[in-house]
């Protein structure tokens, strides 16, 4: 017995080792590729662990059966048992080997930018799937072994030798013993179907009463005493709370920008602005800002003003009747500042397929020298396109 337990502990440890090692590796990685932020990975991991638990439970069952008195005197079956245990051990070892190997392979591959499924690279995905398949196969083998051991005659002898004590489940249900069933059988006979007259299971009956009680309290709470908040009130409170939370946060936040104090950003912020632009604006304004559904953002003509503050305002509040939505619920003030700053850098880039100008010519007044040059440039472009 001792030997078995020890073996199993080692085996379990071995099985989990690669997982932990792998987890560490992934966790320490500085970039965004942490596997634990990937839902699919987590899902598969949970499945793997759940199946492992099933395997361990089945293994336990098998050992109990194999170690039970009924088999000890049956030398032949005992031989068989040993053989089976070997099989299991071998299968387990193979599994270990495989898992270790696959994890190794994964690490080597992790950085490679291969084809991905749900954010997981192919190798990780398929090795995890393969692992699951192996686990399933092992479960099937174990299951078949167990059912093979429990031959019907054996089961009968097991049952016969059991003391007739009510199980917890039977006590809970207040069932009449199967042996005494003839006392409560009704004289009903429908095409051979008989009916017993067991009591309602008490837990069921009182559970029913409980739900009825809760129902009554619920209705009183919301509709008679009015102590519970109905949905409109609940909404009002949630909004007020959210406003307070945001205000509190913004007090200390660095990115408290609005149209009155927004400044032209540079460097990395322009890059972020570009990314945000591609993701959110390009569908209507074109990837280069040349305009399609929405107006051209590279020329000197603006429908709602071309200053940084104007652009910031347009993005923030939108011009809903003209088809420009308000982005203030989707983007933070800082992000809007980044986008607006990026848009300002587009002036005069003159991308191909530019949409013809809309709105009024915008001229920067009291602008610093270099941005004045930019405006001149744009004007030159404009003059070109007018020729």
């Amino acid at each position: 017995m001792m030997r078995h337990t020890k073996n199993k502990a080692i085996a379990a440890g071995l099985l989990l080792l690669p997982v932990f090692g792998f987890a560490q590796e992934a966790g320490s990685a500085p970039d965004h590729t942490s596997y634990f932020s990937n839902a699919l990975f987590n899902a598969l991991l949970v499945l793997i662990i759940a199946l492992l638990i099933v395997i361990i439970a089945l293994g336990q069952t098998l050992r109990n059966i194999a170690g039970s008195d009924y088999l000890i005197d049956k030398a032949k079956e005992k031989d068989e048992k040993n053989k089976h245990q070997d099989t299991i051990r071998n299968a387990g070892l193979m599994l270990l080997l495989f898992s270790g190997l696959s994890m190794e392979a994964q690490n080597a591959q992790a950085s490679a930018d291969s084809w991905r499924i749900g954010g997981l690279d192919m190798l990780t995905f398929y090795s995890m799937i393969a692992f699951i398949v192996l686990e399933v196969i092992l479960i099937i083998i174990l299951y078949r072994l167990i059912t093979g051991f429990i031959k019907p005659e054996l089961r009968a002898s097991v049952q016969a030798s059991k003391p007739k004590e009510k199980t917890i489940f039977e006590k809970l249900n207040a069932s009449v013993d199967i042996e005494k069933e003839h006392d409560i059988i009704l004289d009903h006979d429908y095409d051979g179907i008989r009916e017993l007259d067991n009591d309602l299971p008490p837990w069921w009956k009182y559970g029913f009463y409980l739900t009825i009680t809760i129902a009554v309290i619920y209705l009183i709470n919301f509709h008679i005493t009015g102590t519970g908040d109905l949905q409109t009130e609940e909404y009002r409170k949630a909004i007020a709370q959210a406003k307070a939370d945001v205000a509190e946060y913004m007090k200390n936040a660095a990115n408290n920008v609005d149209e009155t104090n927004v400044k032209q950003l540079e460097g990395a912020d322009i890059e972020s602005g570009k990314e945000l632009f591609i993701a959110n604006c390009a569908a209507c304004h074109g990837k280069a800002g040349q305009g399609s559904v929405g107006p051209n953002l590279t020329d000197a003509y603006w429908l709602h003003g071309g200053s940084l503050a104007d652009i910031f305002k347009t993005v923030k509040y939108g011009w809903v009747d003209k088809g420009m939505k308000s982005w203030k619920e989707d983007l933070s003030p800082m992000q809007i500042a980044q986008i607006s700053s990026f848009i300002r850098t587009l002036a005069g880039t003159n991308p191909p397929d530019g949409k013809s100008p809309q709105g009024d010519l915008y001229q920067e007044n009291a602008a610093p020298a270099d941005s004045l040059a930019l405006t001149k440039d744009t004007l030159a472009v404009k003059a070109d396109s007018l020729k």
Binding site: A39, T211, L219, Q231, D245, A253, A283, S292
Partner: protein, 709 residues
């Protein structure tokens, strides 16, 4: 007492069994296609008939009414004769019932593919088919009651109580929910509008689950499970209590599909509490089923029929516990509009209905053909593949549903929504793929079963008329001493039917009457006006293409929803919506306030190729809307029908509607022209744009005023 000789009609049972298997496989294939389309949009094939919005109703109707429907009739026709010791009342009625039902299914499949739909979930079929359903359902009831009247068994067994309740309730649900004003032979408008339509529809929708997928199957369980296990039913008293409480309480629970919507608060609360009280009555069926197997668990290990039944009853227990939990408002706030609901119904459909049907087929076919099942091994294989299929279907959908909902609700500390809607869509793809794998496994299992059963049939010889004998009923019934009070109604089928009808009618009446009569339930909003003729046409296109299968039009009063979509929806906004289009799933974003959000040209490009405007979108393209012309010949009839429903168009408006329509269409083509797009003003896409640009705009200004206050 003299024994009378008679014969059971097995032929009708056989036909229904064949139909069950055939439509089961067809319905599952449609489901698999729909599942794959969500992962691989190219599978929509750019054809109207194969686009998700039409495939999904075909799938749901096929599995509910064709697969489970035929399954019900198969089981009822087999068990009813034997439980009553008589042949079916009329072979002719049986035949009419069978062919009538199959005709309905074929018509349904064709008309749904052609886009003939009422736009109400699980009640999509248009009015001529609705009438046909009513007729065939009456034929079924007539045949059943004829059989019951001619019975040789004094008392009705619990299975038959369930059959009777099913018959009367489905009749009531179908008729009340299908009241509609025909516009043409294949087009009608729901009699109800907005909130009322929603309430009636989900009273129907929820109880279609209750009285089409649950009560008849409980009846079947009460016959086939004790038969297969050869054990007495656990508790007669439990049968009585859970039967009556189940049918009484179930009816009330409909509004739990509409929590946090514009439905009045009191109706929502009724939906919540009755759903909660439904746990015990539902579980009564599960307990009585599982405990009937007491002392037969060794058989369950050997008998594949019992294995299927045990999983079925367990799935039933899980789904009926989960249902009430989903009906709690705080859980619904997370689960509604997500894949969680899809997972929930599939545990019921694949587990409970599917597995019970399979179990019955494996038990029944060898009996009808007087032989052994061709291969127990294959049947076992089916069991395991099917179970694995259910697991692989349900788990990813639970996961994706919860994940998506949490993403929708997440804010940054600055107070902005953390995720664009599209971010949450692209995260769903791997889950959709895994779900499709689960579905494929389940379908594979069903195909294996068909093969196994065909082989069994080939090996056996069919017994069309099975000899039986029983004594006739005596004219006068003497009770033998003291009997249970419930025995009385078990002898009185007509009273049984009437009492059932009364019991199931109460909940609906109490929920509907105030919603229809009391004005304060739907406060009117002065700025809400009827649709223009062009918008009305656009709306009909929206309904036809099944947009509601993926888009809701109901913004709930949550910060995360008003931030994303705009002011939450008010009851008064929907008073001209025949039918309502609130939807039940957000595979795509809510559209209730879509109007004015994007320019016309955005919509134009988006309908032609959704990914051009929303990179990563899984919405199918709708190229035919750019070729097909708006059906102007129906404008007059549509306006007239709307007027009959009480929509306040000016007098004789139907005669000037065409001119108004042209004007509006021209405005849209001009605005498209400015963005360099040229399209004729008579194309369907123009009407659709008109409708989409109207959505939710009626109260936009008022909402603004409100927030300024």
């Amino acid at each position: 007492m003299e024994l009378q000789k008679f014969q059971y009609d097995n032929k009708i049972v056989k036909w229904f069994a064949y139909a069950t298997m055939f439509w089961g496989v067809v319905g599952m294939i449609a489901g698999l296609l729909a599942a794959l389309q969500l992962a691989i949009p190219a599978l929509n094939m750019e054809l109207p008939y194969t686009t998700f919005g039409r495939v999904r109703p075909i799938h749901t109707n096929a599995v509910i009414f064709a697969f489970v429907g035929n399954g019900i009739f198969m089981g009822v026709y087999y068990s009813l004769q034997r439980l009553l010791k008589t042949r079916m009342f009329s072979d002719l009625l049986s035949k009419v019932h069978f062919y009538g039902w199959q005709l309905i299914i074929v018509l349904a499949a064709i008309s749904l593919a052609l886009g003939k739909t009422t736009g109400k979930e699980y009640a999509e079929l248009e009015w001529p088919i609705d009438i046909l359903i009513t007729i065939v359902w009456v034929v079924f009831g007539w045949n059943m009651f004829g059989t019951i009247i001619r019975r040789r068994e004094r008392h009705l067994y619990v299975a038959i109580w369930f059959y009777i309740a099913t018959f009367v309730t489905v009749a009531m649900l179908h008729i009340v929910n299908s009241i509609e004003i025909p516009v043409s032979f294949w087009k009608s408008y729901s009699w109800y509008a907005g909130v009322q339509d929603a309430l009636v529809q989900w009273w129907y929708g929820h109880n279609a689950v209750a009285f089409f997928l649950t009560t008849p199957y409980l009846g079947l369980m009460y016959y086939f499970l004790p038969k297969a296990a050869n054990r007495p039913v656990y508790s007669y008293r439990l049968s009585i209590i859970h039967f009556w409480s189940l049918i009484f309480i179930y009816i009330w629970a409909g509004p739990h599909h509409l929590l946090y919507t514009a439905v009045p608060d009191w109706a929502q609360s009724l939906g919540v509490v009755f759903s909660l009280m439904l746990i015990a009555p539902s579980w009564g069926g599960m307990i009585n089923g599982l405990l009937t197997l007491r002392g037969a668990w060794d058989k369950v290990r050997e008998e594949v029929v019992l294995k299927f039944m045990v999983v079925a009853v367990t799935a039933y227990g899980m789904a009926t516990f989960e249902g009430p939990m989903l009906s709690l408002k705080n859980v619904s706030a997370i689960a509604h509009y997500t894949d969680w609901i899809v997972a929930h119904v599939h545990v019921g459909a694949l587990g409970w209905n599917g597995f019970l049907t399979f179990g019955i087929l494996y038990w029944l076919i060898p009996k009808l053909f007087r032989t052994e099942l061709y291969s127990k091994k294959l049947a076992n294989m089916h069991f395991w593949i099917g179970t694995l299929g259910i697991v692989l279907y349900a788990i990813p959908m639970y996961w994706s549903g919860i994940m998506q909902s949490l993403m929708w609700k997440e804010f940054t500390p600055e107070g902005q929504l953390k995720w664009q809607f599209m971010d949450t869509v692209t995260k769903m793809i791997p889950f959709y793929i895994t779900r499709a794998i689960g579905g494929t496994l389940y379908l594979t299992g069903a195909v294996i079963m068909v093969y196994n059963i065909v082989k069994t049939i080939k090996a056996g010889s069919f017994l069309a008329n099975e000899n039986a004998e029983a004594p006739a009923l005596e004219k006068v019934y003497n009770t033998h001493g003291k009997e249970h009070w419930h025995r009385w109604i078990e002898r009185k089928p007509v009273q049984m039917m009437i009492v059932s009808l009364v019991v199931v009618a109460i909940g609906g009446i109490i929920e509907f009457v105030p919603t229809f009569l009391v004005k304060s339930n739907i406060p009117t909003i002065a700025s809400v006006k009827p649709y223009t003729p062009l918008e009305l046409h656009g709306r009909d296109i929206y309904v036809r293409e099944g947009c509601y299968t993926c888009h809701s039009q109901m913004i709930r009063p949550f910060r995360s929803e008003t931030a994303r979509y705009g002011e939450y929806s008010k009851a008064g906004e929907f008073v001209y919506d025949h039918p309502f289009q609130w939807g039940s799933k957000r595979t795509g974003p809510d559209l209730a306030r879509l109007g004015g959000k994007y320019p016309d040209s955005w919509h134009y490009n988006h309908m032609l190729d959704p990914t051009s405007m929303s990179p990563g979108s899984i919405m199918p393209p709708y190229p035919w809307l750019f070729d097909d012309q708006i059906d102007v010949s129906s404008t007059v009839a549509k306006i007239k029908a709307m007027k009959r429903l009480g929509v306040p168009y000016p007098e004789n408006y139907e005669h000037v509607a065409a001119a108004d329509m042209e004007k509006q269409a021209k405005l849209i083509t001009e605005s498209l022209g400015k963005d360099g797009i040229s399209i004729l003003p008579d194309r369907e896409v123009v009407a659709l744009i008109a409708y989409l640009q109207r959505l939710g705009t009626d109260i936009k200004h008022e909402a603004k005023k409100d927030t300024l206050k």
